[in-house]
């Protein structure tokens, strides 16, 4: 039986190291559910949680081919912000950011959400014009944002190189004080535990190998743990979305690419905020453990291999050293890749499909971690009502046919 965490339960279990209850039970699937969610990343688990909590649908299974949070949720650099340019995008990400602000309490699980601020650097006059335009749009949309100049950046981050002689001199930045980072596996385990306490079955080591469709309606899935039936299925499988779509006879406007990150050895606190630069392409923060967390760009080729090219890592390292020469002798500890689902307009698809009862939530690409609670929230309502949540409406897959793209790619000026 799962118990509510409290300071008393944590202290007691911490002292005798025995009273830890299992966070989620290991279970076998039932033969039928009201809703099946494919993929137990943060987005899939959040979807299940909000289905149970806000939509009155508790008979839900989340099926995961590996272990929970083992996909991009557990591989990302955890930058959270909502300062996107387009109204549609900033409303969605701001919805998520507001949920982040109360999530640890809501889930009874410390996800270590830390609003340490996010700087998006500009290195040219055009960068600065784009930054000003985006900050103005943010303010009109009620999203906190300011433009800061190079002197203010230097005051806040003394180790950054604001020399005018740099190859790409820093001219200023946008700053979102409410942005920050969170614990990647914390959000997965938090949603999983809270969902399972509401009756959701989380089934790991259970790969979907086919989606059964009968007369245009979804019927269920074939998995490595047998057949599971459901009238409604939500697909939240990030880099593998095209593979699952194909099982249902669908195509998506998505391509899968490797995205890499790496961390250094742990060190004393040296960087208290998040710094991103799209122009030189690198982004960095320091985790609570003390390691520098550095993100790179994508490889241009398609891949499902969860690894990318060394030249991409080299490029990101060069960009970080350009900004922080002081890190030149820091030793790197680990490096990895995740497979991201990239949409032509760099915006997600949160949508019903041509197959009745089959919904897709994908295309978050290189920047979906920040959206985790908001994405699950609007997707749960979309599935429960068989009608898109108002915030999800602009993200219908039909936009690629009507031309109603949400051009966030160049617009936001940053990838993550």
């Amino acid at each position: 039986m799962q118990k509510k965490y409290s300071w008393y339960s944590l202290l007691k279990a911490g002292l005798n190291d025995q009273d830890w209850d299992q966070a989620i039970p290991l279970i076998q699937p039932k033969s039928k559910y009201d809703v099946i969610i494919i993929g137990a990343g943060g987005h899939g688990l959040a979807t299940a949680y909000y289905l149970a909590k806000e939509c009155g649908i508790n008979n839900v299974a989340v099926v995961e081919k590996g272990y929970i949070g083992g996909g991009n949720t557990g591989r990302n650099t955890t930058i959270i912000r909502s300062n996107y340019l387009r109204d549609e995008a900033s409303s969605l990400y701001e919805h998520a950011l507001k949920l982040w602000e109360g999530i640890s309490e809501d889930l009874n699980f410390n996800v270590m959400f830390s609003q340490r601020g996010v700087y998006n650097l500009g290195h040219s006059l055009q960068n600065m014009r784009d930054i000003e335009r985006r900050v103005n749009a943010n303010i009109l949309n009620g999203v906190d944002a300011v433009v800061v100049d190079a002197n203010e950046i230097k005051q806040q981050i003394p180790i950054i190189n604001t020399s005018k002689n740099a190859r790409y001199p820093i001219m200023g930045a946008s700053y979102q004080a409410r942005g920050g980072v969170a614990r990647h596996d914390g959000i997965a385990w938090g949603f999983a535990r809270a969902a399972s306490m509401l009756g959701v079955d989380i089934i790991q080591d259970c790969e979907v190998i086919d989606i059964e469709v009968e007369e245009g309606r979804v019927k269920g899935v074939k998995t490595t743990k047998g057949e599971i039936l459901a009238d409604r299925i939500g697909c939240v499988s990030a880099g593998h979305s095209s593979v699952l779509a194909k099982m249902a006879g669908l195509r998506l406007p998505i391509e899968s690419h490797p995205l890499q990150a790496f961390v250094s050895e742990a060190m004393k606190p040296v960087l208290h905020t998040v710094v991103m630069s799209n122009a030189v392409h690198g982004y960095i923060s320091q985790s609570d453990k003390g390691d520098l967390v550095i993100g790179a760009g994508i490889d241009g080729y398609n891949s499902y291999a969860q690894r990318g090219s060394t030249k991409i890592v080299e490029h990101a390292a060069a960009a970080i050293l350009e900004l922080f020469p002081i890190f030149s002798r820091v030793r790197m500890n680990r490096q990895w890749g995740g497979i991201v689902d990239v949409c032509p307009d760099a915006c997600p698809i949160i949508s019903p499909t041509k197959v009745e009862g089959l919904y897709f939530n994908c295309g978050w690409g290189t920047g979906g971690f920040k959206a985790t609670p908001g994405s699950g929230n609007v997707f749960a309502h979309t599935i429960a009502q068989d009608k898109q949540h108002p915030l999800a409406e602009p993200f219908h897959i039909n936009r690629f046919t009507t031309g109603g793209l949400i051009d966030e790619h160049g617009a936001a000026g940053v990838a993550h």
Binding site: H240, S242, V243, R251, L252, P253, I254, E255, S256, D299, G300, Y301, N302, S303, Y304, A305, S309, T310, K311, P344, F400, T401, T402
Partner: protein
Amino acid sequence: MLLIHCPYCKESRDQSEFSPAGEAFIARPKSPEGISDEEWADYVFYRTNHKGNHWEQWVHTNGCRKYFLVERSTISHQILQVAPFGARNSETEL
């Protein structure tokens, strides 16, 4: 890192000389006025994104600057074959 054989230069060179240029065999519709919005969307935006052996285009950016075809596994990254344009027009047809 990949070692890519350019069918024009007839040499295997480091990946950093090349740039990927997307899925191969996506043909522009023959009668652009005659097709539906769905067909246009499929041509412009929708992709196969195949997991497995996949035909794609690369360009020898820092070499001969020519485009060519590569069959590569998106699971292992292993390159199975390369071909100049015109050698084939689809996965099956030679």
